[in-house]
Subunit: 217 residues, 4 copies
């Protein structure tokens, strides 16, 4: 029996597939976070007592906070990956393999996020989350450096633009690293330090080479 | 060793990637709902007794109802997003970041859906679900307003069409808001109120500017 | 600050998005089935005793069987959807909404599959699975009929081809319906009846109008 | 009411859909692995005691090791599938059905990975993982042979290139098969044997026909 044939479109899209696999891993890691909150099955008091259920929600407070923290972090890293890929003109086999390593750390994120929700005051939770995010950020830097070395950018980046962008991609690594020693003194303050990447970015932008916009829009 | 190169197709599709990430988050949130039903592991009586298993299914009734409610709500919001995106000609970086915030609320939905299945008679369950859906709907309105301000629509919307469509996107927010006080008196009626968005939409359509179809098909 | 703009490619792909959402729901439903097997956390005897772990695997036998059954069923329905969509030239808003209803039943499948793994000898498990699959199959028939009524096929189907294909899509519904009464007498035989769709299909193919291949490859 | 029509782009992409379904199954199997680690809910000692949480992490050590092992294995198999598909010019219905069988084994992987994390010293865990991976690898070989028989490659493969590539795809099957008897003597060594595929590949590459690069880049 002849079998219907589905031809490849004239434009090959092996490039796009790297993004769609990445998108799926990010989307699942983000959506799985909700499983860690856990639906309460019993509450103290009658099942239709608003106060009792509100109490159960209050107990879930730190887990819900960890859910939003994890979601935004994963979401904004996805947005950063979206931006990065928009600068590229091609990927190669080595890039595909490095992407797999990068996604391994993204897939792990629901674990430290869940631990942070359960033990938010514990410096080890904060450290675990910071290390995992640092690994994601670090792999981003590796992908960036690899892409330049293999000439995967649409236009070849001048040295100063490249160095500035590399520094920029290291700012979150710096913020995560700084937060670890602080976690052993003041766990909650150290979570706040993760957002230090934003003001650092503002300062760093002052040193941005004029040509950056042309290469990295 | 040279590494095989996979070039980007001539037509860039950074636009499409925003949709594929969104599709994945919606699909996972919808499919994860089934986990909250939970497969019974033991039943009262012999494991091959139809009556005993039917009894276990009956106990799962509210959870199965919550599954279908959650699925339709998520599915129809996805359909609304599909329609909305079909009107746009471009997205920008700000749009991508707002989409991440929007998807955070979509990813949270399995939690209040599960709570609703366990404590359907409790006004707090109904309130939590209504608040979460209201946040999803509200972010839809924000995306709509942002898209117009940044001129992302295929054709620029006239003022009257824009105002009418903005009102239209607020109708579900209104229905969800109305249901919250009612939940404290009659929880089940308040769930029915969520579907009030449909008749409200019918009424609202009467005030639709004649040119709407040309811009928002 | 100006925000980078990502334009839509010249060829709009609102059509493709319906498939990518469908693909994601099918993929997740298929992959979630593995969660129902459940990893044993303790075994009777030493943790490195092969016999003890083999015993634990044997206890999981019905769950593993249900996993494969569920995977093939979902996988082959996905393949059927792939084939169906390859015949279409367009979708419309009504088609999108019917697809959401169809996917709701696909997303539910891990629940009866899990129940079947736990209570394979119970006629109610078999009935629940058959009803769920019947609903998926039935919605496929609805999508097929809708697509013809709205002229969404690449070439308009002649009446005889349409009637034959509609009958073809109802054969699994027939097999699932027949299995329900049998389940109350011989549960395992009734599972075998689900595969009756294949020989029925062979017989049905004899009545295939000659022109079918031209329209439905 | 007329319903908005979304036409298919001029280039049909039934080919691409096979990849996007595959990508989603791989991405979910990879991301679900994190669920098997499990977030600890209580620790011995105060909830903010770093030593106690560190102890809980140490207990999770084998599960975290199994997570990374599973992620890399799934990730590198995805990369191999990405490469394989880049050589094809078309798929057909038979290929789609074989892909479903292949994905069934991919979807099962989180189960033996979880068992390996719980019972890493047990030869049966190692055997189960090796059998599952062997099935994935074996189905890859089947897809490769099928694709050649149905002339789905961009350019028809000469006999020597085909035989060499088929042998290459069987090397992991060999490594997994060898590891099973070893598992009953030295479980941890047998895990190391899985990586034997890499040195075997290096040796095998010496026998690579000169024309290979032209057909299988």
């Amino acid at each position: 029996m002849p079998s219907t044939r589905y031809p490849r479109p004239s434009e090959r899209d092996d490039f796009g597939r790297v993004m769609s696999f990445t998108d799926a891993v990010f989307a699942i890691a983000m959506t799985l976070l909700v499983v860690e909150i856990g639906v309460p099955e019993t509450i103290e008091g009658a099942s239709d007592d608003p106060g009792a259920l509100l109490g159960a929600f209050a107990d879930k407070g730190p887990l819900i906070f960890a859910f939003f923290l994890g979601c935004y972090v994963i979401g904004f890293y996805w947005a950063a990956h979206h931006r990065f890929m928009s600068w590229l003109d091609a990927v190669d086999r080595g890039f595909v393999l490095l992407t797999v390593v990068y996604l391994t750390f993204v897939a792990l994120l629901p674990f430290p996020t869940g631990v942070l929700g359960e033990f938010g005051q514990n410096p080890i939770s904060v450290t675990a989350f910071a290390l995992n995010m640092g690994a994601v950020s670090g792999m981003e830097t590796v992908l960036f450096a690899y892409a330049r070395r293999r000439r995967l950018f649409r236009e070849e980046l001048p040295d100063d633009v490249y160095r500035w962008a590399l520094g920029s991609s290291l700012l979150p690594v710096l913020a995560f690293a700084l937060s670890i020693p602080v976690a052993f003194v003041l766990p909650l303050l150290s979570i706040a330090l993760w957002f230090l990447a934003y003001p650092l970015q503002v300062v760093w932008t002052r040193y941005r080479p004029a040509a950056t916009g042309r290469y990295l829009a």
